[in-house]
Symmetry: C2
Subunit: 207 residues, 2 copies
Amino acid sequence: MARWEPNARERLEKAAMELFRERGFDETAVADIAARAGLTERTFFRYFADKREVLFGGSPALQEMLVKTIAAEPAGRRPIDLVLAAYEATSPIFEPRRPYAKARTAIVATHPALMERELIKLAALGAAVAEALRARGVAEPAATLASEAGVAIFKLAFERWVEEDQKGDKKKDLVHHLRAALAQLEALTAPRPVRGPSRQRPRSAAR
Amino acid sequence: MARWEPNARERLEKAAMELFRERGFDETAVADIAARAGLTERTFFRYFADKREVLFGGSPALQEMLVKTIAAEPAGRRPIDLVLAAYEATSPIFEPRRPYAKARTAIVATHPALMERELIKLAALGAAVAEALRARGVAEPAATLASEAGVAIFKLAFERWVEEDQKGDKKKDLVHHLRAALAQLEALTAPRPVRGPSRQRPRSAAR
DNA sequence: GAGGGCAATGTCAGTGACTGACATGCGATC
DNA sequence: GATCGCATGTCAGTCACTGACATTGCCCTC
């Protein structure tokens, strides 16, 4: 009721998550979210550029963490290792929020419009990472490719990490999944076929 | 005027490209596009799910070509090579359309909403490729990672290919850029640092 | 402690994307 | 040439989003 309740932004985010879960994204009007948060539709749009954005408030902080980590890493490592270190550094943020991450991921998966937004946020993270690599002297196209590979690894690892069911004891952390994903990518781009013993004519390497 | 002019869909696509270029995406109303095509707004929405979709009509054909190529490739190659072969197979389609591709890419780059749509289309291509790999017996997570790597390679190669200015003689084709991008990715994920002679302590390879 | 200023919120009116229901004209079929 | 089906048109409505302006609580200063 009171006009001056604090944390308007968080209230809006919470109300939106609840309503998207209860009724679905399309069936929730912005006015509904605002009403549950004790605010008006107009105020919602002062905090979020559009209806989808309310689910992506954590994005800037994540990006900042990635960029700073890359800048702070010691020298003498492959670009892809710098990128991986950056994503590993976010693990302490995510680890205590696994249930929240799971709920949010489930909502995003329900609507293509939300997946679009998720994809462009990931692309923005990738672009920021590429820029941070360039700032360290990594040349193109290595910077772009390493950051794209990083996004692919992160997507896969995050998905595995979120899906891990509460088997209780043997839960792996995000860092584990990130390292596994990188190892698998390395295996995939290794010069010779990966699965099964050799069974085709040898020929000079790709390209 | 006549109600029964043929090719309504193509007329809408052409009108949209023109108007987006002349006025910009936001400044073009769907009713404007329809009017230029000699149709009504309602008819536009019978052909395209939303205003952005009018720029993405080629997506299903592209996806079909990728999937079929992967299914038809001979056995005994790395998954990533199958993926690359699939993208290479699209080259004859793109090659004669470079000016169109350039114009379209420029429009998409002008508006985040269009980039979002582009990203989700690429993700859909990637998902279809991963599925095609699985149908050939490629296991997870190799199928997903190979298809994601393929998308990254395609994005980079396509960008290079489109940007290539009309220097006249020495234009490279899309296949060239695709192969170059794969080679660069392989170099990035190779066990040891890429640039400069060795200058750090050796240690056993990743993982 | 009255006044003034600032920042967050509210109110209102408008535009345009998108949808459902129903009407209408063109072309083919029997 | 009556009928039918499909592409298109018409109309009305909802909702996301925006700009202009009003209001209200809070803090600072004199």
